[in-house]
């Protein structure tokens, strides 16, 4: 229960409740997800209700209230990526890792998320692993990309 870390994050934003979204992002960056104790701490330090914090934490799709794997794979399902076969890449990821969008492998190594658009549309289909971009993806490239992180 690292309350000190949460407090530091909130203090960085001057304890201002209008920065809630970015505070939650920094908390997620620190812990890998949004742990309940951090949300309650944020509520009390910012002077807002826990339900308000949960409202925001569950509204925005980048927040996760459950622990995620060591590596985060984001597969883009934007229009350009969709047209160029992102569903096949997703299918191959399922074959390789056994997980679908929103799931984590049982060894807690990989979490797969679907995103609406990463803005690299000319390289469709695109996926990111941690913060690295992998463009012009094909079914055949998936295994090799995953191996880089194993």
């Amino acid at each position: 229960m690292n309350l000190k870390k949460v407090d530091q994050i909130i203090d960085k934003y001057g304890g201002e409740k209008s920065w809630l979204v970015m505070i939650l992002q920094d908390i997620q960056q620190e812990f890998g997800y949004l742990p309940p104790f951090a949300l309650e701490r944020a509520a009390s330090k910012l002077g807002i209700s826990p339900s308000q914090v949960y409202n925001v934490a569950t509204f925005y799709s980048s927040f996760s209230l459950t622990e995620r794997g060591r590596h985060l794979i984001r597969i883009c399902d934007g229009t350009a990526c969709h047209l160029r076969g992102s569903v096949n890449i997703r299918g191959e990821l399922k074959r390789q890792l056994g997980i679908g969008a929103g799931q984590t492998t049982s060894d807690k190594e990989f979490t797969l998320e679907e995103v609406a658009c990463l803005g690299a549309c000319a390289l469709a289909p695109v996926m990111t692993i941690d913060s690295e971009y992998h463009g012009s993806m094909t079914i055949y490239k998936v295994k090799a990309k995953l191996d880089q992180y194993k």
Binding site: M22, Y60, L83, G85, C117, G119, L123, V126, S131
Partner: protein, 626 residues
């Protein structure tokens, strides 16, 4: 990674004259004829290891002791992402495409040590098969009119000196010393500039309303959410020329009487956030942002607010709610945000591209801007041309140019020479237009009349292997998930529309359901509060209008003519066309194809996952869909 090490020079420009002197000093120090290797540092080229290419260039130049006589510059996004990593050798303007770290040695030997060109790395025109060496002669670039994107390839976004050297902040200085705020508003009004985010609202009107509103403080906001999938114009501007946005916002702030602002950036654009943060810091160090800009009474402070994954936060009131720390629920605009916006204060919100146009209009005048484009849609527009097109990337052209010109003359036509089926414009709020609409001019009004819209500039080309019903299903699914949930029509209606479309694409649809789909679509359109709900039915309604036959095929014949909907498609091999070359066997990810060499092959339907890779790979068109 920055290759140019900036000296910690304590430059503080305390007056417009000091800015001009500093600019002259920078320009004099930069010899126009000195060779410079510019490497695109945008997200797309980085994905292709562009930064590794840059690193190898630096190492090789250092080893050969060329580093004093040749500059290296990592620039903003050039917008030709599919051909990246892009390297341009200035001042000659030789463009190398798809450069890998292993190519660098050869490039240095040819283009730097000798006056030669590495032909195999130059652009090859897909139509004429000719090699084109000079960047500006390539039809993709030559047919564009780049004013907003003009400097992306010429400056390092992490170095403010580059922006100043090409004339940056001269417009802000002009405004602060020689113009009154109402003059600025009038000038922007006369230019005819309309919101580039898709709304197309006249910018001058917006500024005037905010200027006249009562209250302090007033806010200036930049909408960098760019939620439309397939659109990356704003990403390119924020990453590649962040100061153009800052300068525009500062001018706007001065015009309306604001001293503070936010740039709202989607969190999926980390490089844009990083470059904006650097740019703000450097501009503040130089006295071009912050308190007493250029020694005047005018102060303007900007902060970055990140999105967290919500398409609806591109809507103005939802964006403001997000900045205030709430979830992004839009509100009805009986009271305009120019009177009561973020934190209940008078607010001017404009899109990234809109802001980037402002310094140019101040510099070159309203007539220069109004003379481009059409009477009611002046200036240029940046489009992101993607999908099944040969040249994908960012295209900036004057408004009024036809869809055909953009897709065929600049885009090079449909990829793999397949046939054109439709172009989707305006993101999820837009619609799909078929071939007979290709001569429509692209501006704020004409595409809307045809059932689509220009929107923020996303332009997605579709070929005969795209299923239009599946496209409607895709967009409706997206919008249904992104609905904030406030309005029953949007929340429930989109979900039902998605269920109907999902049923149709899975083979469970009926004719009556198509009529029901239309009815629900109109209901959603007419009973939703915000732009998301109001336009959410467009993808469905426009495909029903132009591609109704395809819907009928799905429900009556239970077939998907494009061969996309998996439950309605069977892949098979035509034994008359198959030569037994075996390419399909290698392409199948689940080993579903078998056959002896030089004999017709066959697909095991039990194993087949309908991915279509065999059809893509077969050189003899032997793979057919039933």
């Amino acid at each position: 990674m920055r290759l140019q090490v900036r000296k910690e020079n304590l430059v503080k420009l305390a007056s417009p004259e000091q800015l001009e002197r500093y600019r002259n000093k920078l320009q004099a120090a930069r010899r126009q004829d000195k060779p410079c290797i510019t490497i695109c540092g945008g997200t797309g080229c980085r994905a292709g290891r562009g930064l590794d290419v840059a690193r190898v260039f630096r190492d090789i130049l250092k080893k050969k002791q060329f580093d004093r006589r040749v500059d290296i510059q990592i620039t903003g996004c050039h917008g030709f992402c599919e051909r990246g990593p892009l390297v341009v050798i200035q001042p000659k303007g030789i463009l190398y495409v798809s450069v890998t770290p292993d190519d660098v040695q050869e490039i240095v030997a040819a283009s730097i040590e000798h006056d030669e060109v590495v032909e195999r790395l130059t652009y090859k025109d897909p139509g004429t098969k000719r090699r084109i060496f000079h960047e500006m002669e390539i039809p993709f670039y030559a047919n564009q009119q780049r004013i907003v994107l003009a400097n992306n390839g010429k400056l390092d976004p992490a170095n403010i000196d580059d922006y100043i050297a090409v004339g940056g902040y001269a417009s802000l200085a002009k405004v602060l010393t020689r113009m009154q705020s109402d003059e600025i508003v009038e000038l922007v009004g006369k230019s005819g500039l309309r919101g580039r985010g898709g709304g197309g609202f006249p910018t001058g009107h917006k500024w005037r309303a905010c200027r006249e509103a009562a209250g302090y403080p007033k806010y200036v906001l930049c909408n960098g959410d760019e939620g439309d999938p397939g659109a990356f114009m704003d990403r390119s501007i924020m990453e590649g020329n962040p100061h153009s946005v800052l300068e525009g916002m500062a001018i706007g702030a001065y015009a309306i009487g604001s001293d503070r602002g936010y740039i709202y950036v989607r969190h999926e654009y980390p490089l844009a956030v990083e470059n904006l943060v650097i740019a703000i810091r450097q501009a503040e160090e130089y006295g071009l942002l912050g308190n007493n800009i250029l020694g005047t009474d005018f102060s303007f402070k900007v902060r970055i607010s990140r999105g967290a994954g919500a398409f609806v936060c591109g809507e103005s009131t939802a964006l403001m709610a997000s900045i205030e720390g709430f979830s992004g629920e839009p509100r009805a605009k009986h009271i305009h945000t120019s009177e009561k916006g973020v934190f209940g204060q008078p607010t001017t919100l404009n899109n990234v591209e809109t802001w980037a146009n402002v310094p140019l209009i101040i510099d070159k005048g309203w007539e220069w801007f109004a003379n481009m484009g059409t009477k009611t849609s002046t200036g240029t527009k940046v489009f992101s041309l993607v999908g099944k097109v040969k040249n994908t990337g960012l295209v900036e052209v004057p408004m009024g140019i036809t869809l055909r010109h953009i897709i065929f003359d600049i885009g090079g036509g449909v990829a793999a020479n397949r046939s054109f089926k439709a172009v989707q414009t305006g993101g999820p709020s837009g619609g799909c237009l078929p071939e007979d609409q290709l001569d429509l001019p692209v501006d704020f009004d004409r595409l809307t009349e045809a059932g689509s819209m220009m929107g923020s500039g996303g332009m997605i080309v579709m070929d005969d292997r795209t299923c239009m019903v599946e496209v409607a299903r895709y967009f409706t699914h997206f919008l249904s998930k992104e609905s904030c949930g406030k309005c029953t029509a949007c929340r429930e209606g989109l979900l039902r529309m998605y269920e109907l479309l999902d049923g149709i694409t899975s083979g469970r649809g009926t004719i009556e359901q198509i009529e029901l789909l239309e009815e629900v679509g109109l209901y959603v359109r007419d009973n939703s509060l915000c732009g998301l709900g109001k336009t959410a039915a467009n993808p469905t309604l426009s495909t029903l209008k132009y591609f109704r036959d395809e819907y009928r095929a799905h429900v009556v014949d239970k077939k998907c003519p494009a061969g996309v909907c998996k439950e309605l498609t069977t892949f098979d091999i035509d034994v008359k066309m198959c030569t037994g070359c075996g390419k399909c066997v290698k392409s199948c990810p689940v080993e579903a194809i078998t056959g002896k060499k030089k004999a017709p092959h066959s697909i095991s339907q039990d194993k087949c996952i309908k991915c279509g890779m065999c059809r893509e790979t077969c050189p003899f068109n032997a793979v057919i869909t039933l």
